[in-house]
Symmetry: C2
Subunit: 375 residues, 2 copies
């Protein structure tokens, strides 16, 4: 009836004793074979395997976990959303976890969920996991940082500050600010005097990191830092932002914190009569699948989700299996800027054939980032 993990007496499930009996060995030997322990003769091993095969034996994980204290599973806490970034990262994690031989337990949090991350981790601990991956892109409301939950398994925090207390805390997926900086510099290198920023919701680490990188790029070159427009990752919010930015004739380049917003932004700009890229250059972030096919094809930054997941998990599993050992060192971030058609030099530098020269139709260049034309 029900699957045979037991259920009282008279269960139909095949147990290791059954295999042992058929193979003519002790139950312990069966256990040895299935755990790849040494000291089992080749002959015995094959007899056991045959018997198991014939009986359709499969180990009972509950019993294993009970006896050993290890579940061979890893839990992941993630935000329940189909947004490209988080979803891609989760896929990466799932793929990799399976390769490591661990099972995956997923718990979603939801924006506005009162229990939130702490609740999710609690439920994971409840289920019993050997390690936890926190891929939670947003801050808890009202949290200063530290999660108060006391953990006793290693934790891998992806793309966020390591705000937990655990026997071992690893991080992965940093370097987002560097990517944002590169995107901004690309615009600056094209000759734009400054770059506007359409940011993501500030509760998201990713949004803040991207903003930081943008600022850093501008600051490093002594440029103006124009006011930030904040969106909510959606194309709709990008569209709204675009209507605002279109009114400011001084805007020649925008770095949007994700591709969806960039697409909405471009639409609003176009509707307002500001051509992209001729009048305004736009850079996105993520490189979503359609990015190359919208009009104009979007220049954007690709995030290395799989690489981050792979490296992080490798280090987490290492920590699980070698509790005493030094954690494996992280590797540096890589930046992957994809230049397409949505970015070109600013109108001013394209006026006359002499392309480096800026004729300054407006906003004469002031030596060191003086007040600019925009608002």
């Amino acid at each position: 009836m029900t699957r045979g993990t037991g259920r009282g007496a008279g269960s139909a499930a095949v147990r290791s004793v059954d295999v042992a009996r058929l193979a003519g060995v002790s139950q312990k030997t069966v256990s040895r074979v299935f755990n790849d322990e040494p000291y089992v003769s080749a002959d015995v091993r094959r007899r056991v395997l045959d018997a198991a095969e014939r009986l359709g034996y499969r180990r009972n994980n509950a019993a294993r976990a009970l006896a050993s204290g290890r579940t061979h599973s890893i839990g992941v806490v993630t935000l329940g959303t189909a947004l490209y970034g988080p979803a891609s990262l989760l896929m990466g994690v799932e793929r990799v976890v399976r390769d490591t031989g661990y099972a995956l337990r997923v718990v979603n949090t939801m924006e506005g969920d009162p229990a939130g991350v702490a609740g999710a981790m609690d439920s994971l601990l409840d289920q019993g996991v050997d390690g936890i991956v926190i891929s939670e892109p947003i801050d808890e409301q009202g949290h200063g940082g530290e999660l108060s939950l006391r953990l006793d398994v290693p934790v891998l925090v992806i793309a966020a500050p390591p705000s937990v207390t655990a026997p071992m805390v690893l991080t992965a997926g940093g370097g987002v600010d560097l990517m944002a900086r590169t995107a901004t510099e690309h615009l600056l290198d094209l000759g734009h005097l400054t770059v506007h920023h359409l940011a993501g919701p500030q509760r998201w680490y990713a949004a803040r990191d991207r903003m930081k990188g943008w600022q850093a790029a501008l600051t490093a070159q002594g440029r103006d830092i124009p006011p930030v427009v904040v969106g909510d990752w959606s194309a709709a919010s990008g569209y709204e932002a675009g209507r605002q930015l279109a009114e400011d004739g001084g805007v020649t380049a925008v770095f949007a914190a994700n591709d969806d917003m960039a697409i909405g932004l471009i639409r609003a700009l176009t509707e307002a009569g500001r051509r992209v890229p001729e009048d305004v250059s736009v850079v996105g972030f993520d490189d979503i699948p359609v990015a190359a096919y919208v009009t104009p094809p979007l220049t954007t930054v690709r995030q290395p989700f799989d690489a981050v997941a792979q490296e992080g998990l490798k280090r987490l599993v290492h920590a699980i299996e070698n509790p005493q050992a030094e954690p494996l060192p992280p590797s540096g971030p890589t930046v992957d800027l994809i230049v397409r058609a949505s970015t070109v030099p600013p109108p001013s530098s394209r006026k006359t054939p002499a392309r480096g020269r800026r004729t300054a139709s407006r906003a004469p260049t002031l030596p060191d980032g003086g007040p600019s034309a925009d608002r």
Copy 2:
């Protein structure tokens, strides 16, 4: 060091006996309290809860599963992809599963994975789950249909034929063909003589269902069935298809099997000098978040992922907890066509200065479904 599910002797983990001792009751009573069993006096219940709280007690799930034969978890087999459809469905499932009080175990399959769905289910069975959700949008290579794996837990198959053998097999998420049919009829109703179809990869059920719906709509009205162009869901493949279709002057309406392909298609059409929607109307499928913000805003069909997940899981949990009972009946599909600006009557019926007259390329009216209608 390791979490205290017990690890031999000397474990630091709090056990139910410890709670019992502190509360001055028997261990079984603690068990009763935590299982919400009746016949525990309010007074005892509170004492137990207090003691548990003080000790930081948490039930050991491995022991529970071993003793009861139930893991209180549900497994889901899904294709490892960040594609909007599958990812959204998975999110829906996760959300709902958690609400039901079950834990979720996810196993991804990968296109081209030799083990495939059978392997995934096997691993789930190995882990021990009380029920399985198969949200696997594609056929196994070389499989006629039936998966040979013998299951002994109830199964919910989403958006696919019920090709497994299990004590109870439920399905959910049908009606995709109806949605496709509605999309096609929308185009026909606008006056197009026929509708071309940009299909998804034929290994996907969803692709075949959408094609069937398209055919049904055409057949029902006695229209020509033009040759199908097949893509791979990506905007890139839509672009390729668009180049092909652009050469055929007779094409006035295309139903694309998903929004990504529709976007690529529109781009190719536009580049080839065929305006959308003036020359060619395009309908997509999915209603991805950017659909309302591309140019032109895309008419599409929204899939009720959450509703499907919710209803399916409700029925699965019912089947798990009432093995003997009749399965809950499924409810009918709903169709949600979102009409935006990418579809208009064909050129022939707009000969005279109707509204489609293209005066300006910018600031087109956004009929309903424009930015504000997004959600």
